[in-house]
Structures are given as structure tokens and as C-alpha cells.
């Protein structure tokens, strides 16, 4: 049986990383098992309700939507957009509010950093946990959508890795931003950004309806890239734009991880 010191010596662990982000997932799972399921269920239901209300409600007024040179049923049009949304919601929930709590109220990260764990273990572990939540949400949504017969091609299966990428990006970036917030009032900024982004990023209609300047702003935001990525796979519309969307999220993940681990170090190991 190895002692804590032998383990630490064998890992050649650096000041930033002990090679154990998985223990964060273990902790997340133990806490999750006994916690209330209500916020999890509501988070999953939200995009389903959007799909039903807009798809079948608005859809009967709108009829078909033309995007590029294809014309499709409205419900079919919004399904991939809402899938991207649910991946984002799941990832954001854990990486912002839950992370804020663990940073400032329960001081969980501070406790973890008094053990041999490093800031990068915490960043990777927590972001992966948030990403799993985003992925579970989008898988649930995908199941509902498939049951409703709204998956047009076999390519839709690629929506799963796309959703993981989206969730990873938002989880990583969400945690990085949250690490700068000290009060609940500041946390309110996250909603101020998220709500308009959710409404305007083109999950419910093509952004070509906007004036040029607004279209450009939306195209700079991550959710639009997520929606376009899922939509491209959904309809088997694989253009070179897909690589731009993927690259966008890869950068987001890298920046988020870098900033988060640096911030944790600055906050608790100074």
C-alpha cells in the first residue's frame, strides 16, 4: 500500500497539476447522488418546452423556413439550435453558480488546494463535470427529438460530439469568468449576457433577418458557432465553416482552462 508521500513522489507532480482531476468527478458524483434532482430536471426540460411551444405553437403560424437554398419545416429547423442551447445550459449551470458557491461560500477549492492537488486538477475536474452535465442534457434532448421524428439524417449522431465540444467550451469559459466574481450581484452579469445571447443567436430563426451590424455581433458570440455546428451535422451540411466553429470552441476551452488554473493559484496559493 502506497503512502501519500510515495504517491506524490511517483507522480513527479508540478505545482499546478498532480494528475488527479478524476477525484473531482468522484466528489461531484458523491454529492450529486444525495442532492435534489429538481434543478437537474428543470434544466433538461427547458429546451424541450421551447421545442414544443415554438415548434408546434409558432411553427403552425410560420410554416417552413428557408435557409441557404434549403427549405425545411420550422420545428425541424429549431431542434438543433435548441440542442446546442441545452448543452450550453447544462455546462453553464455547474461552471458558474456551483463554482461560485465552491469558491466563495463553501471554500471547497481552498480545502482541495491544501492537499497535494493542484489548480489544474481542480479546473480540469470541475470543467469535465460541467461538460458531462451539458452532454447529459443534450443527450436527453436528442432522445426526445428522435422520438418525435425530428432527426433528418444519420449525421445527427455527430450532434453528440458537437454538444460535448460546446459544453466543454462554455464550462471552461464559465468557470474562468466566475473565478473573477466575488458577489452575487456580479454573478447577475452572467444572466445579462446569457439571456440575449440565447434569444438572438439564431436557434429560433435564421440570423440573416438581422441588419448587417447585428449579424456580425451575433457571429462573434460562441452560441451562434455552437448552433451552426450542430445544425451543420444535423442536416449533413458539412462545409469548411465547420472547422471555424470547432476552432472557435477549441480556443475557448484552452483560454478557459488556462485562466481558471491561473486564477485558482492566484486566489489560494499566494
Amino acid at each position: 500500500m502506497k503512502t501519500a508521500v510515495q504517491i506524490a513522489e511517483s507522480r513527479k507532480s508540478s505545482a499546478m497539476f498532480a494528475g488527479r482531476p478524476h477525484v473531482l468527478l468522484e466528489r461531484g458524483w458523491i454529492a450529486f447522488r444525495t442532492s435534489t434532482w429538481i434543478p437537474v430536471v428543470t434544466g433538461f426540460i427547458e429546451p424541450v418546452l421551447f421545442l414544443l411551444a415554438f415548434g408546434y405553437g409558432m411553427g403552425s403560424l410560420v410554416g417552413d423556413v428557408t435557409t441557404g437554398n434549403t427549405t425545411i419545416d420550422y420545428t425541424l429547423f429549431i431542434a438543433p439550435g435548441l440542442l446546442a442551447n441545452s448543452a450550453m445550459n447544462g455546462a453553464i449551470y455547474d461552471s458558474t453558480w456551483n463554482v461560485f458557491w465552491k469558491l466563495n461560500e463553501s471554500k471547497l477549492y481552498k480545502t482541495m488546494l491544501s492537499t497535494p492537488l493542484g489548480p489544474l486538477d481542480i479546473a480540469l475536474g470541475e470543467i469535465t463535470w460541467a461538460l458531462i452535465r451539458g452532454l447529459v442534457y443534450s443527450l436527453g434532448f436528442l432522445t426526445v427529438v428522435t422520438a418525435l421524428g425530428l432527426t433528418p439524417s444519420f449525421w445527427a449522431i455527430l450532434a453528440i460530439p458537437a454538444a460535448s465540444l460546446i459544453a466543454f467550451g462554455f464550462a471552461s469559459f464559465g468557470m474562468a469568468i466566475t473565478s473573477y466574481f466575488k458577489t452575487y450581484q456580479q454573478m447577475g452579469f452572467i444572466n445579462i449576457v446569457l439571456l440575449p445571447m440565447t434569444l438572438f443567436s439564431g436557434s429560433l430563426y435564421p440570423i440573416s433577418v438581422y441588419p448587417d451590424w447585428l449579424e456580425k455581433i451575433i457571429m462573434a458570440l460562441p452560441l451562434w458557432h455552437g448552433i451552426e455546428l450542430v445544425r451543420a451535422f444535423w442536416f449533413g451540411n458539412l462545409t469548411s465553416g465547420v472547422f471555424v466553429h470547432i476552432a472557435y470552441f477549441l480556443v475557448m476551452i484552452a483560454v478557459g482552462l488556462f485562466v481558471t488554473s491561473r486564477r485558482l493559484r492566484a486566489l489560494f496559493l499566494r
Binding site: 500500500m1 502506497k2 503512502t3 501519500a4 508521500v5 504517491i7 506524490a8 513522489e9 507522480r11 507532480s13 508540478s14 505545482a15 498532480a18 488527479r20 477525484v23 468522484e26 466528489r27 458523491i30 454529492a31 444525495t34 442532492s35 463553501s106 471554500k107 471547497l108 481552498k110 480545502t111 482541495m112 488546494l113 491544501s114 492537499t115 497535494p116 492537488l117 493542484g118 489560494f268 496559493l269 499566494r270
Partner: protein, 308 residues
């Protein structure tokens, strides 16, 4: 000291224009119980965080088992059990889950931790609370669990920051008993406290800190012998008269401290001194003869009381 576990030289920590720790030196030997005694703001907790490899220093050297905590943070932390000033248990988890996951943070195997948990629950006298969420525990129980948690990795050194602050007397005594057992088992303890009775009970050796500097170092008994008399006579004449009679009384004892509410007279024989005062027809409203304590050492060294 040959091969000390902890060696600190010229340790300084500056926050902006405030010097929290100002060039301190000390060593801690294996199996020793070492204390940092001083009032709030003396720099004890800052020193502890540097020893715990969770804070950087401005200058000086620190070695824990021969390693610099700043350079080998995770490795140094693997040697340590840390009990912080404020309980930071995982409130979302139960008692055993807290012990389990903390062991996992150290990379210990599930099997090892499962066996260890039984031993630690017994040590912390929490067998009957094993499946209770920690939120529901009393202050004393939380403290014992925090200490047990710090022991899950079988550390070489246990760092305790103000271990009994905020506990009622009964809970304090239970905790002292537990810490005394650890000491008997040969665990090296480093603790901070602003309670002189705690320092006297638990420490083999201690340093008295004030305003970031070490004022004195020694065993509790040795410090008392060096800096105070055998006995102390505390007399009160009422807040107005205290100052009035002070010059007169200062003549008849080795040393005197004038506090707002009472006079402390240092002497080898308190009863005899009290008789002398009565003979002088100065009638104190209350009087008390007691042994000198670390509180008196601190007063002598700094001119202030430990708890203000």
C-alpha cells in the same frame, strides 16, 4: 537541533505596506509539539499558511523535511495534515464521505481509505454519526472530524490553526485529550493559539509572537521561570483607586503591571504580599493569588494582554 522536520530562517511576509511576519527563525524536531502563541494579528496564521505550502513568502528560507514548500508544493502537502482555523468540511457530504474523498485528494487507494475510516471514526468519537451530513454536527464534533480528516493520509506533521477557538470548555477538553493522544503516538504537532492554557497543556516548546516577530522561545515552564515570578497577586481597588495606590504597591513587589481593572503584583509568595498590603491599611475589594502563567510572560514581553 539535528535533522529538524521544519526549519525556518529569516521568514518574512509582506502584504502591500504591511509586514505580517518579520524575519522569524525556528526549528521543529520530530515528535515535538510546537506552539506559536500570540494575539490576533501576530502573524501566526500567515506563518502556518506558509508552512502548509498554500502561501508564498517574501523572503527567508523554509524547509519541511528538507524541501522548500514553494518549490515542491504538492510533495510537501503530501507530508502534512492541515486543520484550518475555520472548519472547511464538505457540507454536502456525510462524515464518512468527508474522510473518504479527502483521502482520495491525496491519491490514496479506496481500500486503504476504507480501513482507515474505521480507525479515524473511533479516534474522533464519531462512530454513531458516520452517515450523518456534517452540517448537522455540533461545533466540537466538526472540529474532531476536521482533525480526523487531516490524519487520513498518515501525515508526518499535523498543522493546527487555533484548534479550540469558538468551542465550549467541555468540547475543548475532549479535543485536548485527542491531541494529547496524537502526541503520545509520536505525531509532530504544530499549533497556533491565543489561549495560554492551551499552549501550557499541549506544547513541549513554543515561541511567543507579537506583531510579526518572535519575542521569546522556550518550554512553557521555562518561559514562565525566565520572564515571570513564581506567583502573582491580583488585587482590585475599584477602577478609580487602582491608579492611586499603584505607586505605593510597586515598592513592595518585584514587578507590577497596571491593567485597567486590576493590578498584577509579581512575587515569590503571594499570601505574604497580601498580608503586607493589609498591614498598610489598603483594603482591596478583591484579591487572588495564583501561579504565573504564559499570559504573564506575554504581558511582560509586550506590555499587552493576549486577549484584548
Amino acid at each position: 537541533m539535528s535533522n529538524p522536520l521544519i526549519s525556518v530562517r529569516g521568514l518574512t511576509k509582506v502584504f502591500g505596506d504591511f509586514t505580517a511576519v518579520n524575519g522569524i527563525d525556528f526549528d521543529v524536531a520530530k515528535g515535538e509539539s510546537f506552539g506559536l502563541l500570540g494575539p490576533n494579528g501576530a502573524g501566526k496564521s500567515t506563518t502556518m499558511r506558509i508552512l502548509a505550502a498554500t502561501s508564498t513568502r517574501t523572503s527567508g528560507t523554509v524547509e519541511i523535511l528538507g524541501k522548500d514548500p514553494e518549490q515542491f508544493g504538492p510533495l510537501v502537502r503530501a507530508h502534512l495534515g492541515v486543520v484550518p482555523q475555520q472548519d472547511n468540511l464538505d457540507n454536502e457530504l456525510t462524515v464518512t464521505e468527508n474522510l473518504y474523498i479527502y483521502g482520495r485528494y491525496f491519491g490514496l487507494s479506496k481500500k486503504f481509505i476504507k480501513n482507515k475510516i474505521e480507525e479515524l471514526l473511533e479516534f474522533a468519537q464519531l462512530e454513531e454519526k458516520r452517515d450523518v451530513k456534517v452540517e448537522a454536527l455540533s461545533g466540537g464534533m466538526k472540529r474532531r472530524l476536521t482533525i480526523a480528516r487531516g490524519l487520513v493520509s498518515e501525515p508526518d506533521i499535523l498543522l493546527l490553526d487555533e484548534p479550540t477557538t469558538g468551542l465550549d470548555p467541555q468540547a475543548r477538553h475532549i479535543l485536548w485529550d485527542r491531541l494529547f493522544r496524537l502526541k503520545e503516538q509520536g505525531v509532530t504537532l504544530v499549533l497556533t493559539t491565543h489561549f495560554m492554557d492551551e499552549a501550557e497543556q499541549l506544547c513541549d516548546r513554543l515561541v511567543v509572537m507579537d506583531k510579526g516577530s518572535i519575542m521569546a522561545e522556550g518550554s512553557p515552564a521555562g518561559l514562565i521561570k525566565e520572564y515571570s515570578s513564581k506567583e502573582v497577586l491580583e488585587v482590585r481597588f475599584g477602577s478609580d483607586r487602582n491608579k492611586e495606590v499603584a505607586p505605593q504597591l510597586a515598592q513592595i513587589c518585584e514587578r507590577m503591571e497596571t491593567l485597567p481593572d486590576r493590578l498584577l503584583m509579581y512575587t515569590e509568595d503571594g499570601e505574604q504580599l497580601l498580608e503586607q498590603i493589609t498591614a498598610m491599611k489598603l483594603h482591596p475589594t478583591t484579591s487572588l493569588v495564583r501561579r504565573s502563567s504564559l499570559e504573564d510572560v506575554f504581558l511582560r514581553l509586550t506590555g499587552r494582554t493576549l486577549i484584548e
